[in-house]
């Protein structure tokens, strides 16, 4: 029995390396997409200290808006621009209506506010777009279809082109965001606001402006996430369950770290797939659903700030 758990899976990996590579690839893709979702959370948390429960919903909302506009006859890329506009309006609205009145309240109050926001968005979405699942307009956006097949390692590895596109686009966006935070004036202002509101105010940074920008950025991330996820499955409210998977990713990578979101995402994604494929049969399958949370639990006990999160620096 011990042999089955500890040795056999590795033997299998070695025996069929093509399957191993296939599994790793699947895990990578899943991981990248998890990272995208986590990224939305990190952005808002880093700049305003608010854990945005509504992030998952924003992904769905963005995707629905895009598809909905296209259904009404708007050409694909115009629809993208319009959706971005909608997300911008959403950002400003959230900042003005939800955040500003609650600006000095404890974090938990703000968190509950985003909770409520989630349900508002759900309601709004259902009202405007209806409840049935929709097709993501992948081809219209120019995303590749079909598969690529590699005959290597004694077997075959099949890769969906859309997955490759997803990985590339996500990586580019992550890189852009990291540069943005580090090197631009606004990026620096964002970090400052995340660190100390009082100091930021006294230096002349307008908190309201910063928050609006951050929510908009999170909105862009949500849209891209929505497009990628939607292209692989459907666009429906079920998508927002994926957002729950973001939590282990955040715990692993640190709530305030962009590289952490990537690394965490990859670890969870690959870890999940490997666990499901090689250990799954031992327990009758279904590992995928919970192994991420187990990993997160371990991290909470050993390194709560995550791999890259900010350690609290204080002089006693």
């Amino acid at each position: 029995m011990l042999y089955n758990v500890l040795i056999d899976p590795f033997v299998q990996m070695g025996a069929a390396p093509d399957l191993f590579v296939q599994t790793i690839w699947e895990g990578l893709v899943a991981g990248v997409l998890y990272a995208l979702i986590a990224l939305g959370f990190v952005l808002i948390f880093k700049a305003s200290g608010v854990f945005n429960f509504a992030q998952g919903m924003m992904v769905v909302f963005a995707a629905l808006t895009l598809v909905g506009l296209h259904e009404k006859g708007v050409p694909a890329w115009i629809a993208v621009l319009l959706t971005l506009g909608v997300m911008a309006i959403l950002a400003i609205a959230v900042e003005r209506i939800v955040l500003r009145p609650l600006v000095n309240q404890p974090d938990i109050i703000l968190f509950m506010a985003t909770f409520g926001l989630t349900f508002i968005i759900i309601g709004l979405g259902e009202f405007i777009f209806g409840g049935e699942p929709k097709q993501m307009i992948a081809t219209e956006l120019g995303l590749p279809q079909g598969t690529m097949r590699f005959d290597i390692l004694g077997g075959k590895v099949i890769i969906q082109k859309i997955d490759v596109a997803a990985a590339v686009i996500a990586s580019l966006m992550i890189a852009a965001l990291a540069l943005f935070f580090q090197y631009t004036r606004i990026g620096r202002a964002l970090r400052a606001v995340a660190d100390s509101h009082k100091a930021a105010l006294s230096v002349g940074i307008s908190l309201n402006q910063i928050w609006a920008i951050v929510w908009f950025a999170a909105g862009i991330v949500a849209l891209i996430t929505g497009i990628m996820w939607g292209a692989r499955s459907d666009v429906s409210f079920a998508l927002q369950v994926i957002a729950l998977k973001a939590l282990p990713v955040l715990i692993l990578g640190g709530f305030t770290s962009i590289p952490g979101a990537i690394v965490g995402g990859l670890i969870i994604g690959i870890g999940e797939k490997l666990a499901e494929f090689y250990w799954g049969p031992l327990v009758g399958g279904g590992i995928e659903n919970w192994v991420a949370y187990v990993i997160a639990l371990v991290f909470l006990m050993v390194r709560p700030q995550g791999l890259f999160g900010d350690k609290i620096i204080e002089r006693i």
Binding site: Y183, R185, A189, D195, S196, A199, S202, V203, I313, R315
Partner: protein, 264 residues
């Protein structure tokens, strides 16, 4: 470095007019009036709880007075947002040091340049052309401040790790990066030993001499007040009890009774 040539040294830069501030039933400031002249160092002194920090907060926009007005550079206003005050040339340090603890000294002072950074966000991402030249110019300015305050050796250290005295210096640096016309310092020497205090005094005097900045400072060390300031305002229980040169104030009986104890 400092523009705004409409006000010359010696003219009134800021005027506090019959300002009163209440928090519920507590009267923090009651009917206080005084002025600050351009180019001078104005000390605000008084026993604890006299309303000194509240006064700075009113000037800076963190608190809004119920009565009275503030006239700054000729424009009168009752309320002001802190970031608007900042954009008009008022910079501030805090009693308990408000720095971005997770960022390095360099970054902290760079943030002070935020208001002065003009180039568009778009170009900044690509670090090209005008954005790059501007970034270099700002960096140079920040490096000069670092050189001025002798903090080269902690340039990259996260500010949260620094001892209190150095944190205060970094905070001064950040305020200076804003190229302020009016610098509000809240107990800049608190918690410093003799050597550090002397260094800080030297820096404050140099700031006045080199940049022509007007300075209002809250301070408890009477020696420092006597050495540094041109004029002094004394507050007690939210009211002004004296206003004049350091010597005049030192000899003032009301001040001696309330604060100094024995004539030094």
């Amino acid at each position: 470095m400092v523009q705004n040539s409409t006000i010359s040294p010696g003219d009134t830069l800021l005027k506090v007019d019959h300002v009163s501030l209440r928090f519920g039933g507590v009267k923090a400031i009651t009917d206080v009036s005084f002025d600050i002249r351009k180019g001078e160092i104005r000390a605000i002194i008084g026993p604890n709880g006299a309303g000194k920090t509240s006064m700075l907060n009113v000037i800076n926009g963190f608190y809004h007075p119920q009565d009275g007005t503030i006239t700054y550079k000729g424009a009168t206003r009752a309320k002001m947002k802190p970031y608007v005050a900042a954009s008009q040339g008022i910079a501030r340090t805090f009693q308990n040091v408000a720095l971005f603890k997770g960022m390095s000294t360099l970054d902290n002072i760079m943030v002070g340049r935020t208001l002065k950074m003009k180039s568009s966000f778009f170009w900044q991402i690509f670090r090209h052309g005008p954005a790059m030249t501007e970034e270099i110019a700002h960096r140079r300015m920040v490096e000069e401040i670092i050189d001025f305050l002798e903090i080269e050796h902690i340039r990259k250290v996260p500010v949260g790790k620094l001892p209190y005295g150095l944190q205060k210096r970094v905070e001064l640096g950040r305020a200076l990066a804003m190229e302020p016309e009016l610098l509000l310092l809240d107990e800049p020497m608190a918690g410093m030993n003799l050597e550090e205090k002397e260094d800080m005094c030297r820096f404050i005097l140099d700031v006045k001499e080199q940049y022509g900045t007007t300075i209002a400072l809250i301070e408890h060390d009477m020696g420092v007040v006597m050495d540094l300031s041109d004029r002094v305002v004394v507050l007690e229980y939210g009211r002004k009890i004296a206003d004049g040169t350091p010597d005049e104030v030192k000899a003032n009986q009301a001040v001696i009774d309330a604060y100094l104890g024995v004539a030094h």
